[in-house]
Amino acid sequence: MLNVNIHNLKLKNPVMTASGTFGYGEEFADFIDLNRLGGFVVKGTTGSHREGNPYPRMVETPSGMLNSVGLQNGGVEKFCSAVYHRIKHLDTNIIVNVSGSSIDEYCSVAEQIDALEHIPAIELNISCPNVKCGGMGFGTSPDMAAQVVSAVRKVYHKTLIVKLSPNVTSIAEIAKAVEGAGADSVSLINTLLGMAIDIERRRPFMANVTGGLSGPAVKPVAVRMVWQVAHAVKIPVVGLGGICTAEDAIEFMMAGATAIEVGTANFIDPAVTIKIIDGMDQWCKKHGISDINEIIGII
């Protein structure tokens, strides 16, 4: 009843987790049965080890939070040689968020992940607002976005999801550009660039000054962008941005999302994903919906 497909990816339900909010899944294994998820997206993985940004890296804001982690990760080799072997047995879709500072780096990471049997898809992150080189720089111009996606498309043979930045004038234009370059799906939104100042100390809360806003505060913006993109492209859309409940997830699906990702809500309730899955199931039963696909993009 809750089954959906993102290109070749078969999901037992539309609920996945957002990169950077769910570690490698293992961090949440005490709280939930990971196998119940439609999928989860592991943290942004780059060509080599990254220490990330200096700290403080986060600040709570009304109905949300800003973070400037800056893609701290152990690098793709460590993922392939260590992390992958700890999680590959899970009966869910494990998607690797692929990041980089150059087209070569994106391609090299994607190629190495392509070789991993139990990773059926990547989420190409052309939208990280917290790194100086690359990241969002690739996701804010249709030409650049198309260039990186078509380069990765040549070396990556499984499901290619491209994660889009909301920090643009027309997200639909970027979505069309990456669709044209061979993306199988787009996910949106990454965080909105924001800033907060500690007025007593007269300095920004975060060492990086600016950071990405996430949480319920961004949800209406995300719903609007999912709706715009879903009308602009033919490939499936993965919606995210402030989803905390089953009702939020259904709202995104009505706006045009085939699947959704839960991010910041994992910090508030580590078992929230299971509550969302169960809640969607109940919502469908209550409304006499036998197939969740019926509600996708009805708006």
Binding site: G20, E51, Y55, R57, F267, D269, P270
Partner: protein, 258 residues
């Protein structure tokens, strides 16, 4: 194993103006809690607060299945928590992080140096160390007497020493200036304001004493997933929530030397 559980507030005590303690239980067995571990509390009814608040565990009664939290009122989250009454429910994720090393032989000597809210985890630690036969000296410090929220409870587990900046109680000066601090110990544990912990760590390092510090930071997930709460260690950025909050100072040279 970590779990999410609704607890009931069995007892609430106000400790001066800026501290209060809560005794929590849920009528069943709790997960095993090691000294130095912490909880993340959900704060309800305060629109400005979305994220959980990390709070260290002050005391544990395994037989009764209760834990005590000692909380300092510092912002919107802790102010809202201070309004909770006995009988209210509190959603708790616990036990989080890794605690203090307990590999001390009976008869060995440990000093526990705490300041302000940082005294919180040291009570549970001193209780467990005493049960292992470790000879504990507990040095608690604060700007003034009223800012050392819990004192007497420590006396049951070791030699209790007090230092206040204004001389209102105990030794007049910093914890590191207390005569007992200069003695030899097999282990130094510390939790409190960062400048205090750095001074304790530097002194321990100079004297070649083994030393562990319990760090604090703004946190989001509490389980090592979001990488927001990192600190600089000699191995690079490490999460205070998962790799800490307790760190051996041998991995924190960069941290305590600056």
């Amino acid at each position: 194993m970590k779990e999410i559980h609704d607890f009931t507030i069995l007892e609430r005590r106000q400790l001066g103006e800026s501290y209060f303690s809560l005794v929590l239980g849920h009528g069943g067995m709790m997960q095993h809690i090691a000294p130095g571990q912490f909880v993340e509390l959900q704060v309800e009814g305060e629109p400005k607060v979305m994220l959980r608040r990390p709070i260290s565990i002050h005391d544990v009664d395994e037989k009764e299945g209760t834990m005590t939290l000692l909380i300092q009122i510092v912002g919107n989250g802790t102010r809202r928590l201070a309004e909770l009454k006995e009988g209210d429910k509190l959603n708790v994720v616990y036990p989080l992080g890794h605690g203090f090393s307990l590999d001390l032989a009976a008869g060995s000597r440990a000093v526990l140096v705490g300041g302000g809210a940082g005294t919180a985890p040291l009570l549970h630690l001193s209780k467990v160390l005493k049960a292992k036969g470790v000879d504990c000296t507990i040095i608690l410090g604060g700007r003034t007497e009223s800012l050392i929220p819990v004192r007497d409870a420590f006396a049951a587990y070791g030699r209790l020493c007090i230092a206040t900046d204004d001389g209102s109680l105990g030794h007049h000066g910093l914890v590191t200036q207390h005569p007992a601090f200069g003695e030899h110990y097999d282990m130094v544990y510390t939790c409190g304001p960062t400048p205090m912990m750095k001074a304790v760590a530097r002194s321990a390092a100079e004297r070649g004493l083994r030393c562990e510090v319990s760090l604090e930071n703004m946190m989001a997930c509490g389980v090592g997933a979001c990488l927001c709460c990192v600190t600089d260690t000699d191995q690079g950025h490490r999460c205070v929530c998962k790799d800490g909050p307790v760190f051996d100072i041998s991995t924190l040279k960069k941290w305590y030397q600056c």
